[in-house]
Amino acid sequence: MAKTAVPMVEADQVSKSFGSNEVLKSISLTVNRGEVLCIVGPSGSGKSTFLRCINHLETVNAGRLRVEGVLVGYKEKGDKLHELHPKEAAAQRRDIGMVFQRFNLFPHMTALENVIEAPIRVKKVPRAQAVARAKELLAQVGLAEKADSYPAHLSGGQQQRVAIARALAMDPKLMLFDEPTSALDPELVGEVLDVMKQLAKDGMTMIVVTHEMGFAREVADSLVFMDGGVVVESGKPRDVLANPQHERTKAFLSKVL
């Protein structure tokens, strides 16, 4: 709708290296509000690293990465960049939800306690209000009756849905998914993808690193294929998946489709 507004995420020649190993080489892409971007590519292509740069779990070495027009991890003063204080970086992350491949639920807390933890501690939401919202969210991901279960008593799919509810509890404007279904048994993948589809339908801006080409085709507004730290090819998912232009894309898709 508001195409003139600032994009949700804007990467401008983003580069990142670990020592001498350059994992991201001048990545440029834009995600607008309400859009779903899927990033695919072989392992080691830098797609997870790129995702982790967006909420500053990793530091960018070159280029500019902006969320809603605001630089991630740095402040621009004059012609110099200043690193953010950890507290300021933490404040930036509050509006960006992240879902991990290995769920990373807090095992010493029940599903409900997992969901209310950050709203209470970080946003200082009153406990009763946080609990009410958490119950809503757990119902939304189909786990209303599992509120008092510990993660160890939930299946992988259920854990990942709790993790999604936990991220949503901070009312993020952007959701990052780092291979959310890769650690799941095949029969549990569907329940997580269903929750994500509903989320996309509700207008959430999402960046999803995934190997689920069916999900990408059905839900994503755009698809990026990364390999060796560069964006090899991008476009409408249907076009890229059905008619890849680049040799490396063709080779990759022939293996996974």
Partner: protein, 325 residues
């Protein structure tokens, strides 16, 4: 649609009409262990002989033991020993968390200072350290508290301001902190890095993430060896005579026994108290471990859940459905 029948039975599984199979349970003759029985009998005989002998032996002087076991001086001294143990452990635990976090810090100065602390306090005998603390007032008659280049805020005259009890607590605590710091560090490192990452991604600060997410999980690793250390501390308090502080259980038992030329029954009385306190500490440790095992292990039922355990039905078991298509 849901016909799981024919190919499964070919694999050797023949479910009865209600879908459950059953065979008569096995009633086997139990395996005998003749050597095991023999060794057990021999050990029990030796133990009984030793105990009977001990109960008769003059040197142990059981009547004197009976006279002093509940002597008020002994029970008072046991209380002092508990005070030394608890105070030293509380200070040591707080200091050890600080030291462990310093060792894991990204600041090289903090890391080096923590390392140096461990090197010295772990590398020298606690007895020697206690002697040093006893000599504090000789080495530093006045202790100044303040900031560099600023007049001190307040002074302590070490001879009058610090009792031997205080010095004993400080000496024990600073030594113990070095050992506990390594236990805490191991506990923190045992927590999956994904936990810190998840809390960071939720916008939690480092302190929130440590306090709410990482440390509670590390407790599972920290509590058992810390229980060990607490029991160790209880017994190490018997070294405070080096300070010299003489109000603890061992010193008092010793000081009663020597003038009456009968130290043995008093050592036995002191040992009985040490054992009793250790036993109480072990019970406490059990409950602490239970507390921090929340959410671990699939055998424990969900908290506040009133439902029974869920029985997983194997997929090859099919129930006849009403109006099955």
């Amino acid at each position: 649609m849901a016909s799981a029948g024919p190919d499964r039975s070919a694999a050797g599984l023949t479910p009865s009409p209600n879908g459950l199979t059953s065979a008569p349970s096995i009633k086997a003759v139990r395996l005998r262990h003749p050597w095991r029985t023999l060794i057990a009998v021999v050990i029990v005989i030796y133990l009984a002989a030793f105990l009977w002998d001990a109960s008769q032996r003059k040197a142990f002087d059981w009547p004197t033991y009976g006279k002093y076991i509940f002597d008020q001086r002994i029970s008072q001294a046991a209380l002092v020993t508990i005070e030394l143990t608890v105070l030293a452990m509380v200070i040591a635990i707080i200091l050890s968390v600080v030291l462990a976090l310093m060792r894991l810090s990204t600041n090289p100065v903090l890391r080096a200072v923590a390392w140096g602390y461990l090197w010295i306090f772990r590398g020298t005998p606690v007895y020697v350290q206690l002697v040093f603390w006893g000599l504090l007032s000789t080495i530093y008659p006045v202790l100044h508290f303040g900031l560099p280049f600023v007049p001190p805020f307040f002074d302590i005259q070490s001879r009058s301001g610090l009792s031997f009890f205080t010095l004993a607590v400080i000496g024990l605590a600073l030594n113990e902190a070095a050992y506990l710091a390594e236990i805490v560090r191991a506990g923190i490192l045992s927590v999956d890095p994904g936990q810190g990452e998840a809390s960071t991604a939720l916008g939690m600060t480092w302190v929130q993430s440590m306090w709410r997410v990482v440390l509670p999980q590390s407790m599972r690793v920290i509590v058992p060896p810390t229980g060990n250390e607490t029991i160790g501390m209880l017994k190490t308090t018997s070294l405070v005579t080096a300070v010299p502080f003489s109000g603890d259980l061992y010193s008092v038992a010793h000081d009663i026994g020597i003038p009456i030329f009968d130290p043995l029954p008093l050592l036995l009385a002191a040992s009985t108290w040490y054992l009793a306190i250790t036993s109480i500490l072990m019970v406490g440790q059990y409950f602490l471990e239970k507390r921090f095992a929340r959410g671990v292990g699939a055998a424990r039922p969900a908290r506040r859940s009133k439902r029974g355990p869920v029985v997983e039905v194997p997929s090859y078991v099919s129930y006849p459905k009403n109006g099955d298509e």
